[in-house]
Symmetry: C2
Subunit: 394 residues, 2 copies
C-alpha cells in the first residue's frame, strides 16, 4: 500500500506547528508557539447549564441525524449578528454551518478549484489554509502583506497574469502577522479584483477580538457578489465544539451544501443546539469583552517587553487585536537558528517557514500572546532576548 | 459565479433521499423512506449525566483544540471492543476518529483516488458512499450483490479488467439491500482481490444490529493488510454526535491523518469525551440488545405483512439485522411509478435509482423498518400492497 497514494497527497505539508507543539508539552517550557484561545475564558458553567437544558428540552431532536445546512436558528443568530455588529445583510439561507472554519476552506477548494488553478494567498499566510488548499493542487500566487494590508501592486500583477480563481485573506489581525488591512487598502484590493472571476475569501476568526483602534468595514460591503465570509465560534466561545460557518452567494452555497453532505452529512447537531442555547441565555459581547481585556493586556505586555529587551534591528508588528504578533530578524539571520537557541532556554515560538507557500529560509517568526499571562510573557521574552543577543553578537 | 465551479462538481448526484424526505415531513404520511435509527432508543438521560460529569471533571480539556487522531481513550475503547467482540487485533494508533463514517469515505477517496481511477461499488450500494466518492471522479465498477454476497464472477472480471484502487462493501445487513455476505462468499472475494493493489473498505455501521443468525467473520481476518474497517456510533448510540472511525494500516493511517487535519483539524472534542464517559458508565451491549429486540420485531412484522399482503411476483430480502429490506417488482414495472402511487396513499419509501452508480430505471426499492412500530408497519404495507395491486392489475 506504501507507494500508491493519490497524487494530491504528494505535496501537502505536514503541519509544522503540530510537530512543534510536541516540544511545548514539556512542563517547564514557555510557549509562544500555540494558536490556542485561552481556556481560562471558556464559559464552562454556562455551557454545562445550556447542555443540560438541551438534553431535557430537545430530547431526541438534538441527537438525531439532521440537515446539512446546520441548525436554522443558529444560522438566524449569525445573520442577525452580522446585521447588528457590521451592518451586513445576509440571509440564513446563505449560511452553512461547518466543522470549524477549517472545513470551510476544504469545501471551498473542493467546489471551486480544478488542479493547477491559481489561488492568491497572503504572504505570510495562515498555514491551515495553505494545508487545506494544497490538497486541491492549486498554483499558489503569494502576495505580500504589509502593515497596512495587501501589496496592491503585486496583487494587480498577479490577478492580471494568473487569473486566480480564489483569493484567501484574513483582513483583521491576520494569522500569523497580526496586521489589519486598513480601509484604503481594502478599497484598493476590491477595485483590483472587481469584475474578475475570483472569489474573495474573508476569513475572520479574530474580528471580534479587537482591543485597540476601530473596526474596518468588511470586504462584503465593497464586493458583496464576490465575497465569501468565514466565521467561527472557536475564538469567542470554545474551539472544541468545532463550529464555524460560511456565508456565500446562493449559487455557491448550493454547491457547498452538496460538498458538505458528501463530506460528512452534517455538523454535530448536539453542539449546535448547546451553542444556540448558550447564545440565547448569555450575552456574547459581554463574554467577548472579558477575552479582549485579557488579550489586550497580554499583547501590550509583550510589545513593551520586546521594546525593552530585544536587541536593535529585530522588528515586531503591533496588533490591534487577535492572538499573534510577527517578528522579523535583522538581515542574514534565520528564525530556525533562533528557534534552536530558544529551545535550549526553554522558550518556543513558530518560525516563519510554514506560513509561506514556497520554500523559504525565513527571518520571520510568530509569537502568540493569548495563552500567557504577563509574568510569563516577561520571563519568556527575556529568554528570547538572550537568545537573540547571542545570535547577533555571534 | 454561476457557471464556474470545479469540474468535480458536475456529476455529483444531489441526494435523492434528501429530496424525498421533504415529502415525509408531512404529518399523515407513513415513511419507510428514512435511514434513521429509532430515537426511542437514544440514551438521552445517560448521555445527559455523562455530559454533566465531563463538564465538571474535564473542564477546559474537553473544549479546547485537540489532536487530529481523536481522543486516545476512545480509540482504546474501540480497539478493545474489536478484540472482545470479533477477535480482531488493532492498535489505537491505527484508529482515526471521524465526523461519522461518511467523513471516512471522503478522506479515503481523497487519499487514495486520482481522477478516473476505478472503484468497485456494490450494486445496489450505499448512496452516501456513491455521493462521497463521486466528488473524486472515479470510474465506478459496479458489482452485483445477491442474497449470499457479492457476485464473484463479475468481481473477478472487474478486478482483472479495471485494476480498481478501492472497493467499497457493507458486508453486514447491507444498505440498501439488507443482505449479508456469507462466509464462503467473503473467502471467495478475498481470494480474488488478494495481492492486488486494491484497498477493501468494510463499512460496518449495522454489524452490531443482528437479530437472527450468527456473526460472519470480518474481511479483516482474511486480508488484514488490505482491509480498512469503518465503524460508527450513529446506529448504536446516537447519530447527532457524528462519531465514526477508520481502522487502517499504519502508512495509510498517516496519510488519512494529514487529510483529516487539512479537512477540519479534528472531530468535535466535547462529544468524544461525552461518548467515552457514557461508554465507561454504561454497558453498550445491554443498550444495543434493546435496539436489536425492537428492530428484529419490526423487521419480522414487515416481512410477515409483505408475505401476507403483497401481490405475487413482488420479492423481498429477509435481513438478519440492520434497518432495511429490499424489494423487487415483477418484470416491466418501475419503482418510481410505485412511488407516485404510494405518495397519494400517504406512504413512502426509496425507489432503487439512487443506489446505482449508473442511470437505471429500477424495479427495486428500499424499505426501512427501524423507525416504525408494528401497527404502522401493518397499515403502511397494506397501503403499499394496494398501490402494487393497482399497478399490476393495470
Amino acid at each position: 500500500m506504501n507507494d500508491h497514494f493519490a497524487d494530491r497527497m504528494h505535496d501537502v505539508p505536514r503541519s509544522f506547528i503540530r510537530e512543534i507543539l510536541k516540544v511545548t508539552l514539556e512542563p517547564d517550557i514557555i510557549s509562544f508557539a500555540g494558536g490556542l484561545p485561552n481556556r481560562a475564558f471558556f464559559p464552562i458553567e454556562p455551557l454545562r447549564i445550556a447542555a443540560d437544558k438541551v438534553f431535557r428540552e430537545k430530547g431526541g431532536d438534538c441527537l438525531q441525524y439532521s440537515n446539512s445546512e446546520g441548525l436554522v436558528e443558529l444560522r438566524g443568530y449569525i445573520a442577525r449578528r452580522y446585521k447588528q455588529s457590521q451592518g451586513i445583510t445576509v440571509a440564513p439561507e446563505q449560511i452553512l454551518i461547518t466543522n470549524g472554519s477549517q472545513q470551510a476552506l476544504d469545501l471551498l477548494a473542493k467546489v471551486l478549484l480544478n488542479d493547477g488553478e491559481s489561488v492568491v494567498m497572503e504572504e505570510p499566510g495562515y498555514l491551515g489554509a495553505i494545508q487545506a488548499l494544497s490538497l486541491y493542487r492549486p498554483r499558489f500566487a503569494p502576495v505580500a502583506v504589509h502593515r497596512e494590508g495587501m501589496d496592491c501592486a503585486q496583487l494587480a500583477e498577479v490577478v492580471e497574469r494568473n487569473k486566480p480563481r480564489l483569493m484567501y485573506t484574513v483582513p483583521n489581525f491576520q494569522n500569523p502577522s497580526g496586521i489589519t488591512y486598513d480601509a484604503d487598502n481594502r478599497r484598493a484590493v476590491a477595485e483590483i479584483i472587481s469584475q474578475r472571476e475570483v472569489v474573495l475569501v474573508e476569513d475572520d476568526p479574530y474580528g471580534d477580538l479587537r482591543f485597540s483602534g476601530s473596526a474596518v468595514p468588511s470586504f462584503y460591503h465593497l464586493l458583496p457578489e464576490q465575497t465569501v465570509l468565514l466565521g467561527s465560534f472557536s475564538k469567542t466561545v470554545v474551539p472544541g465544539f468545532r463550529l464555524g460557518w460560511i456565508v456565500a452567494p446562493v449559487e455557491l452555497h448550493e454547491k457547498l451544501l452538496i460538498a458538505k453532505q458528501a463530506a460528512d452529512l452534517h455538523t454535530c447537531n448536539f453542539t449546535q443546539y448547546v451553542l444556540l442555547q448558550f447564545l440565547t441565555d448569555n450575552d456574547l459581547d459581554h463574554h467577548i469583552a472579558a477575552i479582549v481585556g485579557a488579550y489586550g493586556r497580554q499583547c501590550r505586555a509583550m510589545v513593551a517587553a520586546i521594546d525593552r529587551m530585544f536587541p536593535a534591528g529585530v522588528t515586531c508588528t503591533r496588533p490591534d487585536g487577535g492572538m499573534f504578533l510577527w517578528g522579523t530578524l535583522p538581515e542574514g539571520l534565520r528564525a530556525m537558528d533562533l528557534f534552536e537557541r530558544a529551545v535550549t532556554r526553554r522558550v518556543v515560538f513558530v518560525p516563519g517557514e510554514p506560513f509561506y507557500t514556497r520554500p523559504v529560509s525565513s527571518a520571520t517568526f510568530r509569537l502568540n500572546f493569548s495563552c500567557v499571562d504577563e509574568p510569563v510573557i516577561e520571563e519568556g521574552i527575556g529568554r528570547l532576548a538572550e537568545a537573540l543577543k547571542e545570535m547577533i553578537e555571534g
